[in-house]
């Protein structure tokens, strides 16, 4: 039974750590490890071992971790790292693999830890910190049942993002990110922090880890075009997140990101404030949000925050980048705020425009015409009268 407990706990931690979108009942509160961040599964676990869903068990192909490096130092075997190094694993989160998690862990002795604190770079043994750049390349992103990679929810600070061949079996993603503070917890209070959408009731995290992971969404083959293809949503301070497109009665689309995390850090007194950087490719801006090309500024979008049935405008930034724009939200407080990004709209019917800058030229011309006409007619009358006068005389 001890083995079973360990297996269940690994699955639970994986789900919590990745913010993956499963029923909470599947998550066990059993605590086998010393901290909430220990017990990250290896790639072997995800292939055919101990996770709830496995690639072999479900009979689906998996994306390939083609390379992993940190601060330019290459991790020789990222799926089987040596102690002290970082490694990575990619695991299905659903039976079909349409949600898949990639996470980076710290191989600490015989334990895999989601918390990268203490890990070092492979060549120079430099400490991995929040300033480290971890670069991961994933290939073969068209997983089993013809699911195709679409977008990612990332726990990390992204500095480079490249995608290619999206919508095909050979789609690939290359991302460079820095690990960020990520809350972890095992208790019941944390269970809904990674639900879909999150509904987090945790007061404080058990561990504020230095984490790096990606929750990837894959489309089913018959799902058609995806609203968020090529996008990423990079989070700090959140345990889980869920992104979806919504349309109001007028058909106006919005992109809604619901985030879940405890109110406070592990010390129980410091407010947990997070951030989100959303990269939205041009296709999303123009086709979903209906933002005209080149109209990337804060006046073109509006962002609201809804929590506990209260909605308010949320400050945000937007920056045009190659291929799209990055929308930034900061000072996010939790437990489960929903941020809605949509095209700016007028609160009320606009007033009619002032499309004249001066009296019409024709008005002046017509005055002259009238004057000339009157003079001419007077002249005619005068001449006729004179003629008649001279004739009578």
């Amino acid at each position: 039974m001890g083995n079973v407990k360990t297996i269940t706990s690994k699955a639970s931690l994986l789900l919590i750590g990745l913010g993956i979108l499963l029923s909470v009942t599947a998550i066990s509160p059993l605590k086998v490890h010393a901290t909430a961040t220990e017990g990250a599964p290896s790639q072997a676990d995800c292939n055919s071992g101990s996770t709830t869903y496995t690639w072999d068990g479900e009979g689906i192909d998996r994306p390939v971790i083609a390379s992993l490096s940190v601060d330019g130092e290459v991790v020789a075997d990222p799926t089987s790292p040596t102690s002290g190094s970082i490694g990575a694993a990619i695991c299905p989160s659903t039976e079909q693999g349409n949600r898949t998690g990639l996470f980076v862990y710290y191989r600490n002795g015989s334990t895999n830890d989601f918390d990268l604190t203490g890990a070092v770079t492979p060549d120079t043994s430099s400490p991995i910190t929040a300033d480290s750049d971890i670069t991961i390349t994933l290939t073969d992103m068209g997983t089993g049942f013809a699911n195709r990679y679409s977008f990612a929810l990332i726990h990390g600070d992204v500095s480079n993002w490249e995608t290619s061949n999206l919508g095909t079996d050979s789609a690939s993603v290359s991302v460079t990110l820095s690990p960020v503070r990520t809350p972890y917890g095992n208790g019941d209070d944390f269970a809904f922090c990674t639900a879909t959408p999150p509904n987090c009731n945790a007061n404080a995290s058990e561990v504020d880890a230095l984490g790096a992971s990606m929750d990837m969404t894959f489309n089913e083959s018959d799902e058609g075009s995806n609203d968020f293809s090529g996008a990423y949503f990079a989070l700090t301070g959140a345990m889980g997140g869920f992104v979806q497109a919504e349309r109001d009665e007028q058909g106006v689309a919005s992109l809604v990101a619901t985030l879940g995390a405890p109110h406070f850090l592990a010390n129980g007194s410091t407010l947990n404030t997070g951030s989100m950087q959303a990269f939205l490719p041009d296709a999303i801006l123009e086709d979903l949000l209906e933002l005209p090309p080149g109209e990337v500024d804060t006046s073109s979008l509006e962002v609201t925050r809804t929590e506990d049935d209260e909605t308010e405008e949320a400050p945000f930034s937007i920056e045009a980048v190659d291929g799209g724009a990055i929308v930034g939200l900061s000072n996010i407080t939790f437990s489960s705020p929903a941020y809605s990004i949509s095209r700016a709209s007028a609160d009320s019917t606009p007033g009619l425009p002032a499309t004249g800058d001066g009296p019409l030229q024709q008005t002046n011309a017509s005055s002259w015409s009238l004057a000339v006409g009157v003079v001419a007619l007077l002249a005619v009358a005068f001449v006729v009268r004179r003629k008649y006068s001279s004739t009578n005389n």
């Binding site: 709209s345 019917t349 009619l352 499309t355 800058d357 001066g358 019409l360 017509s366 006409g373």
Partner: protein
């Protein structure tokens, strides 16, 4: 020999008289004609908008507006709202402005464009002759995908300059393009015309 001279003078007099008469009549007619747009303050050409039709195609963003009847072939700027909540205007007198917070031309709902009637010093502008459009006249929009969207005029209506007509901006019935420009009398003090002309059009091709 005096008789031909008198005949010549008489003929000269008649020709001069006719010229003056024609000049006078033409001038008065021109003067009257140029004032016509300022006299109407009501609805003209009241034809009901076309029945809404189901839309499938999604058009791109407008880049060009063509109205052959009045010689319009204009680039399209994207305009929002002024600080006072009025539709903003293009930055020059030759382009038209598309209301970027509204509907795209060709997509369901009412897209709105505006253009200047006149420029500083009384220069004519892109929508100088907008009021000459009549029912069934054609208006064409080219989008950034190269698609051509054809609209047909359904009616023309005038509003006071300070109105906020829902039917212009928010009508969800059909696929429409509404064109706005100034009309009425020029107030030098307010630097504004007293009215606005709106030409309502509805889509022809789907």
């Amino acid at each position: 020999m005096r008789k031909p001279l008198r005949t010549y003078k008489k003929l000269h007099f008649v020709v001069l008289l006719l010229i003056l008469l024609v000049l006078g009549l033409v001038s008065v007619w021109l003067a009257t004609k140029n004032h016509e747009p300022n006299q109407d303050a009501g609805t003209v050409n009241q034809t009901p908008a076309a029945e809404p039709t189901p839309e499938k195609k999604r058009y791109g963003y407008p880049v060009k507006l063509k109205i052959p009847k009045i010689g319009v072939d204009a680039k399209i700027q994207y305009v929002g709202l002024t600080d006072s909540g009025d539709l903003d205007v293009p930055s020059n007198y030759t382009d038209v402005g598309w209301y970027k917070l509204g509907v795209r031309p060709g997509n369901p709902g009412s897209a709105v464009m505006d253009g200047h009637l006149s420029g500083r010093g009384g220069l004519s502008a892109v929508f100088l002759n907008l009021e000459k459009l009549k029912k069934d006249d054609k208006v064409t929009v080219i989008d950034n995908k190269g698609e051509t969207i054809v609209f047909s005029v359904t009616k023309t209506k005038k509003y006071s300059y300070d109105e906020r007509p829902d039917e212009v901006f928010k009508s969800q019935s059909g696929t429409n393009l509404n064109l706005i420009t100034c009309a009425g009398d020029w107030s030098a003090a307010q630097r504004n015309f007293s009215k606005r002309t709106v030409v309502f059009t509805t889509i022809v091709n789907q």
